[in-house]
């Protein structure tokens, strides 16, 4: 038995640079911490973050890239984690809402949402804040229109967006 296994292992090592599998071994950096996991190929990135890493701040809304609740930063750009497989993120650098807080202190965008009543039920908020984070990184001084355009991929069914826009403007002032 041991002999046969080692032969097979040797063959595998030679022929397959991209190993096919329903299971993948991935390494990702999330909020500055390195993780290694075995995941099913079909596992969505949002499920990996929530269920494997326990980072439940990233919400799963629609699964079809409509609502934006699952927005995270992947290699520095905002993406929707429900339309990526965890396996695809191998080698990637991810920031989630949990990564914005430093030493128990809310990030200025988080505080601005609090101060300006930028949320009601809070379901869309993590995605909204991650998208705002990216938006303000790209454009530190956005106009109202640029803010609305920038968050058009994030749905909020409570606020009517007025206070969200107000929060992002306040955060932009704070961050400048």
């Amino acid at each position: 038995m041991p002999k046969r296994r080692s032969k097979r292992a040797a063959r595998r090592a030679v022929v397959t640079p991209a190993k096919p599998s329903r299971e993948q071994h991935i390494r990702v950096r999330v909020n500055g911490v390195d993780h290694e996991s075995d995941v099913e190929s079909r596992m969505l990135l949002v499920h990996y973050l929530r269920e494997v890493l326990g980072l439940t701040g990233t919400h799963e809304g629609c699964d079809t890239s409509n609502c934006g609740a699952c927005t995270i930063l992947y290699n520095g750009r905002s993406v929707k984690s429900c339309t990526m497989f965890a396996a695809q993120a191998n080698g990637g650098d991810i920031v989630t809402i949990e990564g914005l807080t430093k030493d128990g202190q809310l990030h200025p965008i988080q505080r601005a949402f609090w101060d300006n009543h930028g949320l009601q039920c809070g379901f869309c908020t993590p995605g909204m804040i991650m998208q705002s984070y990216w938006l303000l990184k790209e454009n530190p001084k956005p106009t109202d229109e640029q803010i609305r355009w920038g968050i058009s991929g994030n749905l909020c069914r409570c606020t009517g967006y007025q206070n969200i826009v107000k929060s992002i403007k306040a955060a932009a002032r704070e961050l400048r």
Binding site: R42, Y74, G150
Partner: protein
């Protein structure tokens, strides 16, 4: 809902990707940005047996924007965000940047790619009409490393169907460069929500001579049929004509006839689509014409 299990491959090179495609045949699916495929899988509408991920191919081999003296070359893995913001595309093919801007939202544009979008060939996809209108060419490679060039007009065959063979991979989209003056183009679309799919998408490309007479006028429509609709009559009728408001009304009549059998679905009835095709084709023509009359590259 949990997706059906599949084998995942992350090839590091184009040749490795095409040989995987050949090996696994029709059950395999290439994934570029995944912004159409993953939602379809999550909804249970697609269940590939193998997924071949192109995002781990060494970045520069398929994600680029380059220029030579005749054409603009866009790698198939270039994201919509990059198409939207590339200074070269803005300068030499403004209509494509304008089109990329109207796709979905920032997050989707950060991940979705031009190649993925055209290979998905959703009739309501935004790139279809503009790429046909600017006479784009598509380059594909097969496992024998043979490169084939397909014109945009021939590339889109039917609903979700392209001219690519099963073992071919789209590598590049080429757009012929036009002089920066007296050329204008525009893409406008009718949608229900910001970033929504095109109920009707109208692309117009216009060239005028120094007296303002039309050398070329092309109108192509997305969303109205199973493939982009080229309104050939406009190309024929308008050469050598002065494109005034009366001509634009005439173009509207030609569009109404050209769209003889429009799609009818939950979003719009056939009659409504035909009417909107007329309205949006005229808007695209007016805008392209106005741009052609301004000099300067930024209006091209």
């Amino acid at each position: 809902m949990m997706n059906k299990p599949f084998d995942y491959f992350a090839p590091k090179s184009i040749s490795e990707a095409v040989s995987l495609l050949k090996k696994h045949g029709s059950g395999a699916k290439l994934i570029a940005g995944g912004q159409s495929l993953v939602p379809l899988m999550n909804l249970g509408l697609a269940a590939p047996r193998q997924i071949i991920d192109l995002t781990h191919i060494k970045k520069d081999s398929l994600s680029y924007v380059k220029l030579d003296k005749d054409s603009l070359m866009i790698g198939s893995m270039t994201t919509h965000s990059a198409v939207e913001n590339s200074p070269q595309i803005r300068r030499h093919c403004r209509i494509l940047s304008e089109t990329a801007m109207t796709i979905a939202d920032v997050q989707v544009r950060n991940r979705g790619t031009i190649g993925g979008s055209v290979c998905h060939a959703d009739p309501a996809g935004d790139y279809l009409a503009p790429l046909v209108a600017v006479d784009a060419e598509f380059r594909a490679i097969n496992p024998k490393r043979k490169v084939r060039t397909i014109s945009a007009d021939k590339f889109f065959v039917d609903i979700f169907t392209t001219a690519l063979k099963r073992d071919e991979l789209l590598t590049e989209i080429r757009v012929p460069k036009r002089p920066s003056t007296r050329n204008g183009s525009a893409y406008v679309k009718h949608k229900y929500v910001e970033g929504g799919f095109a109920i009707v998408g109208a692309a117009a490309v216009v060239s005028v001579n120094k007296d303002g007479i039309c050398d070329r006028a092309k109108v192509v429509l997305s969303g109205v049929s199973t493939r982009p609709v080229r309104v050939d009559m406009i190309e024929k009728e308008f050469r050598g004509e002065n494109l005034d408001e009366r001509a634009i009304e005439e173009a509207g009549r030609i569009v109404r006839e050209a769209v003889h059998d429009p799609l009818s679905d939950i979003h719009a009835s056939a009659d409504y689509r035909r009417e909107m095709a007329v309205v949006f084709a005229k808007r695209a023509l007016r805008l392209a014409l106005a741009r052609s009359r301004k000099t300067g590259a930024q209006h091209n």
